[in-house]
Symmetry: C2
Subunit: 144 residues, 2 copies
DNA sequence: AAAATAATTGACAGTTTTAGTCAGGTATGA
DNA sequence: TCATACCTGACTAAAACTGTCAATTATTTT
């Protein structure tokens, strides 16, 4: 029941992006240094985040990435969805909650996984990037 | 964010065991046939379930496995713990909630994972084997 | 126009985990 | 003692994870 580092990195990178968002776009190189994540790996993640409508890219010198919309409108589950990490706990079950199993007893236990998946989704959908960023600012202030 | 098949199989096998529990112990061979799970794989799982205090084994001819205590006293999270599937969503975090990370921003996102882990645990701890078995009986009745 | 910057893409590879199988050994009841 | 059933450890094929590398395209600055 592990969340992949891909998902963890994506969320961290997004917090970092928002923390350092000024008037100018933020380059992946900068995030790479701040967060100590491989630049090329970040590139992979941000391609997906862009396709997912989470960020917009700005090309050329001084370019980088900016939030596609307000941080308060970006939910954590959207970030994880974008990098293609399934939040459904079992493989045979689709995002809509349907299942293609034959065995009876198997589908009984499925109600458990289905309920679990719904809780996970609900929790991650209840948090926005703005929440996390505010928490991060608080944390940094304490550590000073 | 997948639950391993190990955990899924363990829960299914426990439901099957409880469904078919009479006066005699239930053999793994029987569960293997009912649930279409490899016998040797089941053996691996039940060694751990026994060590986890979920089931007791009865050796010799006519032997098999029985519940170590009443089904209503066996929580789903205990079953999953027994087969050694971590319910904590990130690797650096221990079951106690502590984390050994250095980066500040990383630990900010950790509060998210920590909260998520707690929800998962809470949900799975709220369900007992008796609940699942009752649900299974209901399901079987409907399908008839 | 040229150069520099930065995003974009696709192929590839090492490592780890998963999901089992296989070959035996050990304890128990009939 | 013999069949049954549990117990153990080693082993393996396949998949997923976690990146790296090389090359390309687009944009802005000089």
């Amino acid at each position: 029941m592990r969340l992949s580092t891909k998902a963890q990195y994506a969320v961290r990178a997004m917090v970092s992006l928002n923390l350092n968002a000024g008037t100018a776009p933020v380059s992946l190189r900068a995030i790479s240094e701040w967060e100590d994540i491989s630049l090329t790996y970040l590139e992979q993640l941000f391609v997906k985040l862009r396709r997912g409508g989470i960020v917009d890219s700005v090309r050329g010198p001084g370019g980088g990435y900016v939030l596609a919309r307000d941080a308060a409108q970006i939910r954590v589950d959207e970030i994880i969805d974008s990098v293609e990490e399934s939040l459904v706990p079992v493989s045979c079950m689709e995002a809509n909650g349907e299942c293609a199993c034959s065995s009876d007893s198997r589908c009984v236990t499925h109600s458990v996984w289905q309920g679990l998946g719904a809780r996970i989704r609900m929790f991650l959908a209840s948090m926005t990037l703005a929440d996390l960023t505010a928490e991060a600012r608080q944390q940094i202030k304490i550590n000073k």
